[in-house]
Structure formats: structure tokens, C-alpha cells
Subunit: 120 residues, 2 copies
DNA sequence: CGGTATCCCGTTTGATACTG
DNA sequence: CAGTATCAAACGGGATACCG
């Protein structure tokens, strides 16, 4: 079980956990695992995210020190997002969570069907 | 990196990942790690969660086959929530994520201060 | 005890347009 | 290319009240 304070309201750990409990953040962190990616590339790769939400999420992750933003003075300007050292310490765990989802999605979908079939 | 389909919109893996990307769900799953817990006990332990949201989250987790709900015909009625076998396969990973948050919250908070100090 | 129903409001999101 | 600005619409979540 987790440390006691994780269950406390307004503790720093909970704030961090809150930030990680975001599907876009998890997908972005994982997508950056292989190296830096540009803004619109990320936007295209992560299907369904809007420009606005991608921008907001990247800003939060940068503020948390998990990703870095590097601007290149090309015309037009190019921006690359990559993991920081801190961010890299997290990707294995994120990948583990996502891989659980990949491995067990069939079981989850089956459970949902069984639950729904029980007619609530 | 994750399998390609994780980045696809409306894929089952993403649905599962969405569900896990919920701070309350993560806290509940972890809290049930040591054994079944009653509704109001859970409500008291996980500070800040409302009755409504706890009820909703438990229902979703039960539908996903991650937790089980057992009703005892006492007066008044008693309800215990516990992990299913499927749920138990997930708790280690959830704990890893939360422990990362515990270990690295100082670094994250420091990064936030540095970012904010840079005056945006 | 363990919920559900209702109202209501703040936050989030999507769509669209615009800019350095 | 990589964003920001703005507005409306949708959603989630808190407060409260009530029920088996």
C-alpha cells in the first residue's frame, strides 16, 4: 500500500499523482521515449488530441520538469519536445501501465459486456 | 514505446488507459491492495472524495472487472469492495506509479518553482 | 449503511480565427 | 510551424436531500 499521506488531501504527492492521472500526459510521455518530437508531429501521432489541449498539456509537463522544450530559429520556427532526466525516470513505469492495458484490454472488455448483460 | 494502436483514437487499449488515468481509480485500487474495504471506510480513508464520485468510480471499476462488490444482509446493509484476480494483476504497476510520485515530488515541486520564477 | 436523484455552477473542451 | 485568443457548448463535480 502507499504511504499514508497519499490519501491525504492537498499533499504534494497527490498533486503529482493528479498530474500523471491524465491520459494525454501518459501518451505524450510515452511518445517521447524514443527521442524529441516536434509539436505538429506529436499532434498527428496522438490521434484525437486538439491543438489547444496538446499545448496545455505540454506546458504542464514542462512546468513539472518532465519534458524540455527546445526552439530552433528556422523559418518557420521549429520546436522540439523531449524528455528531461526526470522524465526519463518515469517512462518505464508509464510503459508498464500502458502495457498492462494492452495485455488486459480483452479481459476488461469481456468484463464490461458481462456486467452490461446483467441488465442494470 | 507503446504499440501503435495505443495512439489511435477509440481503440480498446486507449479506453482502458483512459480509465486508469484517473486519480481516484488509482487511489482506490491501491487502497484495496491489503483486502476488502467497506464503502464508508473507503470514503473516510481517501480524503477529499465525495460520496457521488466514489460511487461512480467504484461502479466503473466493477464494470471493468477490476474490483468486486459483495453485499452482506446485515441491518443496515454492509458492502465490501475488494480486488478481483484481474485487479490484483494491476496493483503492482499502480503502486510503482504512485511510488514514483512519492519519491520525485520534491523534484517536481522544485521544477515548478523554477518555471514560475522565470516569469511567464 | 450505502447509496440515488436533483440542481447548479465552475472548469474543460471544441471550433474557429488569428499571429510571430 | 507552433502556437494564442475567444466564445459557446458540454461535462464533471459539489451540495443537498432523500430512500431501501
Amino acid at each position: 500500500m502507499l504511504a499514508f499521506d497519499v490519501y491525504e488531501d492537498r499533499c504534494p504527492t497527490r498533486m503529482v499523482l493528479d498530474r500523471l492521472a491524465d491520459k494525454w500526459a501518459l501518451l505524450i510521455l510515452d511518445r517521447l521515449h524514443d527521442g524529441p518530437v516536434r509539436f505538429n508531429h506529436l499532434r498527428r501521432d496522438i490521434k484525437g488530441i486538439s491543438q489547444k489541449v496538446l499545448s496545455q498539456t505540454l506546458k504542464k509537463l514542462e512546468r513539472d520538469g518532465l519534458i524540455s522544450r527546445q526552439v530552433f530559429a528556422t523559418v518557420p520556427v521549429t520546436v522540439e519536445y523531449g524528455l528531461t532526466d526526470l522524465g526519463r525516470t518515469l517512462t518505464d513505469t508509464v510503459a508498464a501501465l500502458a502495457h498492462w492495458a494492452e495485455r488486459n484490454m480483452d479481459a476488461v472488455v469481456a468484463a464490461q459486456k458481462a456486467y452490461d448483460a446483467a441488465a442494470r
